[in-house]
């Protein structure tokens, strides 16, 4: 369980470049949640996720992981980073190893895993990201396609078996096929009990993956609640400048004629509602 209490982060204090990246943020992420973080560019999303594993220390307030202050001296920061795995934007740009195996093994090796344990962690992470054949492990990570690279990069974090997986715009720059696959594997992680937090600009993804939404605007938390409540608050959505997904828009329009239509995440859900209704 991850908890932020009244966190403030300020860049360049006492200069003309001073800016408040985060203002009085309090939030709690429980086990097995899937949380989407949304907001404009520069609203503080990236700063927020870097607080989660101690890459940035708050100027004020505390970050608690399983009730321990992660920035106190008694806490081993490596253990924090093992528990909270962050996948940054365009993670394939951090590749350096000769083989996919070495790349994926890098994290758990730093965390002290060896031999069979390490091997198991690597292959299970690769399997989680949809590489069923073990042949991939001996290839060079630079020889892979864009989508494969992204999935190997995510596997290189999953191999540490983090309790919380944090993804910064995991679908950025991917083609349709790659996106579909990635969404499928991320949803699988959630199903297998991993807590997933992800930053996104794409509302369709938010709708498909997240149960809970945290919205930031100008460094302040402006919304924290279910996806369903988020999309029904049209004023807020307009304020933070987000496109309402077509599924939600269609459902909101249909609501005029069918007052009992439930909240739908996919076109299929709307279709099956209508089908059920017209059968009667």
């Amino acid at each position: 369980m991850l908890e932020l209490k009244n966190v403030f982060v300020t860049y360049d204090p006492n200069t003309i470049f001073m800016s408040n990246a985060l203002v009085d943020i309090s939030l709690m992420i429980k086990k097995n949640e899937s949380v989407g973080i949304v907001g404009r560019i520069g609203s503080g999303k990236s700063t927020l996720i870097q607080l989660f594993n101690g890459l940035i220390k708050p100027d004020n307030g505390i970050v608690l992981l399983d009730n321990d202050d992660i920035n106190s001296k008694q806490v081993d920061i490596r253990k924090v980073r093992k528990k909270v795995g962050i996948v940054f934007q365009y993670p394939e740009e951090q590749f350096f190893a000769e083989t996919v195996f070495a790349e994926v093994a890098f994290g758990p090796k730093n965390m002290g895993m060896r031999e069979t344990e390490l091997k198991d962690a690597v292959f299970s992470a690769l399997k989680d990201m949809g590489f069923s054949s073990e042949k991939i492990a001996q290839r060079s990570p630079f020889s892979l396609s864009g989508g494969e690279k992204r999935r190997v990069a995510i596997a290189s974090i999953i191999s540490m078996n983090p309790d919380i997986l944090v993804l910064d715009e995991p679908m950025a720059g991917m083609d349709f096929n790659g996106k579909e696959k990635l969404i499928k594997y991320i949803k699988n992680e959630i199903k297998n009990g991993r807590t997933v937090v992800f930053v996104t600009h794409n509302m369709e993804e938010l709708l498909e993956i997240a149960d809970r939404v945290i919205a930031l605007d100008g460094g302040k938390k402006v919304f924290d609640g279910s996806v369903r409540d988020f999309f029904s608050d049209e004023k807020l959505i307009e304020k933070i400048g987000i496109d309402i997904p077509s599924v939600v828009r269609m459902r909101n329009k249909l609501k005029k004629y069918y007052s009992d239509i439930p909240f739908c995440r996919t076109p299929m859900e709307i279709a099956s509602y209508l089908k059920k209704r017209y059968r009667h």
Binding site: F88, E93, Q94, F95, F106, N110, F142
Partner: protein, 265 residues
């Protein structure tokens, strides 16, 4: 705490020095730096120090920034000063254990310290009042006589300007990759020297690879906009010597002459 701005970098202001011709600034600063090594008297250095402070004030720089620009050479400064102080033979004025401080040593140490400090002050004034573009344009003009011997001055100037342009980009990228690898359990500032050196591989390798990729993209982008190596190009900014430039040339010559003459008075 978290600094995003660098010191010693170009800092735009309405200062008189920003309006000077970059060629003049480069030549003047270069000649005064060379000149520093010919001054042999304390009053001469005092005059130059006053002059450099005058220029710094004229450049509207913060004094704290100037002192911070000394930080990179602090070690060199301390080392040479102490070395001169203790290991120059001559008349002993003070001694403890096996260290002997000589009057000649004090003189030499002061000279060296003054030279290094003045050197960094004058170059600080140059970089604080001249943008990267102006610097490379000025540099290109200054080395243009080398064209006679078929030295590719334009290409060299272009290389320098691209290199300077990408310093902040690379710096940002290094921070980004460092954070990504830190998240994978690398501790960059812990462990033995060997361990630290090894932990830099996962940082340097991606940085280098991305830099090569970016160089490729840049080359394509430049060609797409009609850049041809070795073709003559026109300039957007034209450099002209104005009255103010002549005034500063005169001022510099005056100060240099005065600092040499001062010992005879």
């Amino acid at each position: 705490m978290r600094k995003r701005s660098f010191f010693g970098q170009y800092n735009f202001s309405d200062s008189l020095l920003c309006k000077l011709d970059p060629r003049v600034k480069i030549v003047l600063v270069f000649s005064i730096v060379v000149f520093l090594f010919f001054v042999k008297t304390i009053p001469g250095y005092m005059l130059l120090l006053l002059f450099s402070i005058f220029l710094i004030l004229l450049a509207k720089s913060k004094i704290s920034d100037v002192f911070r620009s000394l930080a990179p050479i602090l070690f060199l400064l301390l080392f040479t000063v102490l070395f001169q102080l203790f290991f120059t033979p001559g008349k002993v004025v003070y001694s403890f254990f096996f260290f002997k401080v000589t009057s000649e040593g004090i003189y030499l140490a002061t000279y060296i310290a003054m030279r290094l400090i003045l050197l960094s002050f004058f170059t600080f004034v140059l970089t604080a009042t001249t943008s990267n573009i102006e610097l490379t344009d000025g540099f290109e003009a200054v080395i243009s006589p080398l064209k006679i011997v078929r030295f590719p001055t334009e290409d060299v100037a272009l290389m320098i300007s691209i290199a300077m342009r990408f310093v902040p980009v690379l710096f940002e990228e290094a921070t980004r990759i460092m954070k990504a690898q830190t998240s994978r359990g690398v501790l960059f500032n812990k462990g033995s020297l060997m361990q630290r050196a090894r932990s830099f591989l996962p940082l340097l390798l991606p940085l280098l690879l991305n830099a090569f990729n970016r160089a490729d993209q840049l080359a394509i982008a430049m060609e797409a906009r009609g850049f041809v190596v070795g073709k003559a190009r026109t300039k957007y900014r034209e450099m002209r010597i104005k009255k103010i430039d002549l005034f500063f040339i005169f001022l510099f010559i005056l100060i240099m002459a005065a600092s040499i003459m001062v010992k005879r008075i």
